[in-house]
């Protein structure tokens, strides 16, 4: 192609890219850099506090902010459901990859929670978690009674109890807090939503790409179902699993806002407040925009480091 032709083509390409690129600069990159700058300032929406560059003061304060660390632990705790959700997605995908009559209906049903409005789902789960008359505790109470276990079903969204006995006030373990509470309730709900979600679709797509000849060769060599899965299917799914794990970590660090806003207001006693909800309260309730931006960037750094670790170890095992 001649030089003017190439130039013409480049200009046309830039023209087509321009709307997207300008949108990205104005609505994504711009605010992102702005928030980074703001995180080094005391910017609030209060006119009586003069704007000042405060250097790394916000970050220093953050390190000493006990609430931040408690909510950070909450965020990590909420990730407990992640392996279960991923494993559940894989099992569902394996089941839904079968060639059965009406399998499309099953696939749609499993994917339904992803279609349904999140707020509606959360209100429904709030009713399910009713301590005495919700169906979950009705089943649990019946089970405990049948097994003659002298225990009561959990108080779920009303309780600060948790599996590790974490204290809601301090970064400490308190033996009275062992049990199931609001955090666990949100984890279980999250697992239910995630199992039939996008991860399942990704696994379904990946399963269709597993070469049939490998499976057949293994079967001819006498491999059973489990051996075929363990030595053929699972390794072939490694890139997808790696992608899902990375995305799940990112999602989990950023998550928890909707549940806290709709179901618990971050309570009881702050136990369901995650970092994303903390950012919201700092920025839009207390108007400490600078401080909230600093938390956002620390959250970004955490996600970045975790993703890098995932990338390093995950991609190594993938290459193996």
């Amino acid at each position: 192609m001649s030089a003017p032709g190439r130039r013409h083509e480049t200009l046309a390409a830039l023209g087509f890219l321009a709307p997207n690129f300008i949108g990205f600069l104005v609505f994504t990159a711009g605010p992102l850099l702005f928030s980074l700058a703001v995180s080094f300032s005391n910017w609030s929406l209060q006119q009586n506090i003069p704007f000042q560059w405060t250097g790394a003061e916000n970050y220093g304060e953050l390190a000493k902010d006990k609430q931040f660390w408690i909510y950070f632990v909450n965020t990590i705790y909420m990730m407990l459901g992640m392996p279960v959700a991923i494993a559940g997605s894989l099992v569902c995908a394996l089941l839904l990859a079968q060639r059965l009559r009406g399998i499309v209906v099953y696939r749609t049903l499993f994917y339904l929670p992803t279609f349904v409005n999140g707020v509606a789902l959360m209100i429904l789960w709030k009713a399910l978690y009713n301590p005495s008359f919700g169906p979950i505790n009705a089943v649990l109470d019946w089970g405990l009674q049948m097994l003659h276990i002298p225990a009561k079903a959990p108080q779920w969204l009303l309780s600060t109890a948790n599996l590790f006995g974490l204290d809601p006030q301090e970064l400490a373990v308190t033996w009275t807090k062992f049990g199931l509470g609001a955090r666990d309730a949100l984890i279980i709900m999250g697992i239910w939503i995630a199992i039939g979600g996008n991860n399942m679709l990704l696994y379904l797509a990946a399963l269709t790409n597993v070469p049939q000849e490998l499976t057949e060769a293994a079967q001819i060599d006498g491999a059973g179902r489990w051996a075929v899965f363990r030595h053929v299917t699972w390794p072939q799914l490694a890139p997808t699993t790696f992608f899902i794990v990375v995305m799940s970590f990112i999602g989990a660090f950023q998550g928890g806002f909707e549940q806290a806003r709709v179901m618990t207001n971050g309570g009881p006693s702050g136990t369901t407040t995650t970092l994303s909800y903390y950012i919201y309260t700092k920025a839009f309730e207390e108007f400490q925009i600078g401080y909230a931006s600093a938390i956002s960037w620390v959250l970004f750094a955490i996600i970045f480091v975790v993703t890098m670790i995932n990338w390093k170890f995950g991609s190594e095992s993938w290459n193996e």
Binding site: L45, Q46, N130, P131, S132
Partner: protein
């Protein structure tokens, strides 16, 4: 291909042009548009309608979708805020003033012979007065009394309560009216109360949230602890009030949803602590036979007053026109309408001393309006501290009170923790705000925090 793109562009442009041409007229060009951000209470529609009828030069529109402090402040600072917005608490007012979006209308109102500090209920001052300056007009005001369900009293063979009483005198009555069904589940409780009304208990036992000069949180005082202890004991010691778990259970079994008003309306409580504004909901239940008595008190006979005020956006191009809305709030039409709608009490005292207020011909059964007016005299406004952000302090306090509410922490320990944490937050705020720090030091007599 480029003809396809050009054709598409032309087609879309044409469609946009048609849409623009045929769009419904959003505002009447012969009237000045005024936007009022308030809650979606159905009563607002009539309040807007009366204003528009009285002021043919304006087209007032309600915008309930942009309520919330964050939205109002951000939009107002960006120049796209409402002309008038509602404020629901002292800390919110402080936030609006600090953000520079609330217009100081002290002098403007005085020019129009409107003197809210003389004419309005003192209990409402915290939502529109800050440091002696007036930033709006109260739209309504309320203190809580005791609603009682006459049918439950009749069924239990208990005479209707009359006159005033202390909490000690009240508890045996509530115990008589707490009844369980054959399965041991609560049929109805003697008393229902919203947890957010905890301040009333603290005030009645002589406690305060902040010291008088606002420099310290004093929730750890013996008086504040005693008040909160009573609130806790009503649930867990005397068992006349539902715990959070009981409340959820009743909501599901009854099918009325949650919330104290709905529980009371559904017959799940013989009595309930609530304001006159409950009538906006209770009037829908035609079968309910209601009575009202003054809320019990502790060592101090005070009631926590709360309300709403409308403020004018300082950055609005129509802020002068919006003053007419404040004048409307100070007028007879609006105040009579509030009393008639039972959207709490009219903000101006004198309109609660009319025969129409006492006996509204449309609601002849409501023979208890004198109670609301009489106890309003004991209403005290919400305490605020200028040295801490109300939302930050509220979050810390709520965190502790959540533990008290679920009986996971002793009242004393929770209140001490709350006071300690809020005082820590005050110090953080002072470190961020040099001007405020100076004011703090002046207030405490040069003593550095």
């Amino acid at each position: 291909m480029k003809y396809v793109f050009l054709g598409s562009f032309a087609f879309l442009s044409l469609l946009s042009g048609i849409a623009w041409f045929i769009q419904p007229e959003h505002q009447r060009h012969d009237r000045v548009p005024l936007i009022w951000v308030s809650d979606p209470n159905p009563a607002r529609r009539e309040q807007v309608s009366v204003f528009n009828d009285l002021h043919s030069q304006y087209d007032l529109k309600l915008d309930p979708n942009n309520s919330g402090m964050a939205k109002v402040i951000v939009q107002s600072l960006a120049g796209v805020g409402p002309d008038i917005f509602d404020c629901y608490g002292g800390f919110d007012l402080s936030g609006y003033v600090k953000a520079g979006v609330a217009w100081d209308v002290t002098d403007e109102l005085a020019k129009g012979e409107i003197h809210p500090l003389q004419d309005c209920w003192p209990g409402s001052f915290s939502v529109f007065v800050l440091d002696g300056r007036v930033y709006g007009m109260p739209t309504n005001v309320s203190v809580n009394a005791i609603w009682y369900n006459k049918d439950i009293f009749d069924a239990c063979g208990v005479p209707y309560p009359k006159g005033e009483c202390t909490w000690e005198q009240f508890i045996p009555l509530a115990q008589k009216l707490t009844v369980k069904d054959e399965n041991g589940r609560p049929k109805h409780f003697g008393l229902l109360a919203d947890w957010w009304g905890w301040k009333q208990f603290v005030y009645q036992y002589g406690g305060r949230v902040y010291s008088e000069d606002g420099t310290r949180c004093v929730l750890d005082s013996p008086e504040a602890i005693a008040g909160m202890q009573l609130f806790h004991d009503l649930m867990y010691k005397y068992r006349v009030m539902p715990s959070p778990s009981d409340e959820q259970n009743m909501a599901t079994t009854g099918g009325w949803g949650s919330g104290t008003i709905t529980l009371f309306s559904g017959g799940r409580g013989a009595m309930a602590v609530g304001g006159r504004w409950w009538l906006c909901t209770l009037r829908d239940n035609k079968k309910l036979r209601l009575g009202v008595m003054p809320a019990p008190f502790g060592p101090k006979k005070v009631y926590w007053a709360y309300g709403r005020a409308s403020l004018v956006n300082k950055n609005s191009p129509h802020r002068r026109e919006a003053l007419d809305f404040l004048r409307y709030l100070a007028g007879r039409e609006y105040n009579d309408l509030i009393n008639h709608q039972a959207d709490a009490l009219a903000p101006l005292k004198k309109y609660c001393y009319t025969p129409e207020y006492l006996h509204d011909p449309e609601f002849p059964n409501e023979d208890y309006n004198d109670v609301w007016r009489d106890i309003m005299r004991y209403g005290v406004p919400e305490e605020i501290s200028p040295f801490v952000d109300g939302h930050a302090a509220g979050r810390l306090i709520d965190k502790q009170l959540d533990l008290v509410r679920s009986d996971e922490e002793s009242v004393e320990k929770a209140m001490r923790n709350a006071a300690r944490q809020v005082n820590g937050e005050i110090q953080k705020t002072l470190a961020r705000d040099p001007q405020l720090r100076e004011r703090y030091e002046r207030t405490v007599g040069g003593e550095r925090p």
